[in-house]
């Protein structure tokens, strides 16, 4: 028998923590899985047009066939090849509401520029939120394909800040 108070407590704990999901199994065969998805919290997602059509993420491109205005893909498409040639861009999202800055201080060199190779743990930007300067590290290594926000603009929780090509 599942104790609903126990489940409620678990949900509250997950809700307050940075953990995204938890799965607990008991030796009596009981299994509880709780997960939260930041994308489902009704946050604002900005659908900014991508400046490099060839690098459209697969979710947007749908199929890896060359579309109008896209550079021709020379390799013949087999299902396996198509999967491999899809350029899956990884998104770095804002962990908070705040103001996006590309450099540590006004007039200073930007942390990163489109085309830069970035490494995991490299600082990409600052988001100032309630007077805390939040330095955002890259979770991924790859080539920076897009900076999705203008300098000094407000950003929402979960908003895409950068798109990185891990195979670039």
């Amino acid at each position: 028998m599942i104790d609903l108070r126990y489940v409620k407590k678990l949900i509250e704990m997950i809700d307050e923590s940075t953990v995204d999901s938890i799965e607990i199994s008991s030796d009596k065969g009981m299994k509880i899985r709780i997960s939260k998805s930041p994308q489902q919290r009704g946050t604002v997602q900005v659908a900014a047009p991508l400046p490099v059509p060839a690098m459209l993420p697969s979710a947007v491109a749908g199929r890896a066939t060359p579309g109008e205005g896209l550079p021709a893909v020379t390799e013949p498409e087999t299902p396996g090849r198509a999967e491999a040639s899809k350029t899956q861009l990884l998104e770095v999202k804002s962990p908070m509401v705040g103001t996006f800055y590309q450099s540590p201080e006004p007039g200073a060199k930007h942390y990163v520029a489109v085309g830069d190779r970035v490494s995991k743990g490299q600082i990409l930007c600052i988001i100032e939120a309630m007077k805390i300067m939040n330095e955002i590290e890259s979770e991924y290594a790859g080539v920076l394909r897009e900076i999705a926000v203008q300098d000094a603009q407000p950003v929402e929780y979960g908003q895409v800040l950068f798109r990185i090509d891990p195979n670039g």
């Binding site: 923590s17 962990p95 103001t99 309630m130 007077k131 805390i132 300067m133 939040n134 590290e137």
Partner: protein
């Protein structure tokens, strides 16, 4: 923010012999109940050292002290003047959860430090939104918080604070009472800072009441972040301003008081 790995490494070696008003790093760690204290005679910024140590896995509660900083910083590239022995220039490394409490942390830290500094100040310490500390209309101390995020996870906080012990030449700022010693001030403010970082949730009714009692700007006319009369703050730490169009709540920007109502240097951190 330049990382100064080589400087840190070199200084950590020499820092072993450095004293802070006669105290060794080890004795300060005991006095302040901290896992580790590192003392520098002179360095660019204690914040940089904190980030370096954060990357290396330093424990929450690690304190970096400097007698002088050559590149002490305030918000958005402003310089924080940190002359030798003229103040307390510190950064405290902490690793709290990255939850809604962070939204009010800047205010909560100032609110915690103000009463701790009252004992060393000729006049009561006042607050200017969000977290500047003033005495008799002049800035006494500033707190700058830099957080490092790895994706959605908060790795660490570097809480930098600059407290003027005496007024540097040519600056219209405030200092603490003559004869105050820095170690006594540290013993008062470090527990206050750590408690504030550990406190979860938005500002409580009691915290709002205490903030209102020290609010430097309350009922004064301001020109930024909105034009009107400062009404106070809310539980989320937003600045409330009564404008011609009604009450606004601001979470970004700087509070600038109208010229006739200010005796201060304006916003800085």
């Amino acid at each position: 923010m330049t990382r100064l790995r080589s400087i840190v490494n070199a200084s950590e070696t020499s820092a072993a012999d450095s004293l802070y008003d006669g105290q060794s790093a080890e004795s300060l760690a005991v006095l302040l109940s901290l896992p580790r204290v590192i003392i520098f005679d002179d360095l660019p910024s204690t914040l940089d050292v904190a980030h370096d140590l954060g990357e290396k896995g330093a424990e929450a509660g690690t304190l970096i002290l400097a007698d002088a900083q050559s590149a002490g910083r305030g918000r958005m590239g402003r310089v924080w003047r940190s002359d030798p022995g003229a103040g307390i220039w510190l950064t405290l490394l902490e690793r709290p959860a990255g939850d809604e409490s962070l939204g009010v942390l800047a205010l909560r830290l100032a609110l915690a430090v103000a009463p701790a500094l009252d004992a060393f100040s000729v006049d009561p310490v006042a607050l200017k939104w969000p977290n500047d500390l003033y005495v008799a209309g002049r800035k006494l101390a500033g707190i700058l918080i830099e957080a490092r995020w790895h994706g959605p996870r908060l790795d660490w906080l570097a809480v930098g604070a600059g407290i003027n012990m005496r007024v540097p030449d040519g600056l219209e700022v405030a200092g603490l009472a003559d004869g105050t010693d820095r170690v006594s001030v540290l013993r008062a403010i470090i527990p206050a800072l750590r408690t504030a970082v550990a406190t979860r949730g938005l500002l409580t009714r009691e915290e709002l009441r205490r903030y209102a009692l020290r609010d430097f700007a309350a009922r004064r006319r301001c020109t930024s972040p909105a034009e009107g009369i400062v009404a106070g703050i809310d539980a989320a730490g937003s600045l409330l301003v009564d404008t011609a169009q009604g009450r606004t709540a601001s979470r970004a920007g700087s509070l600038i008081l109208a010229p006739t109502d200010t005796h201060s240097l304006g916003d800085s951190a």
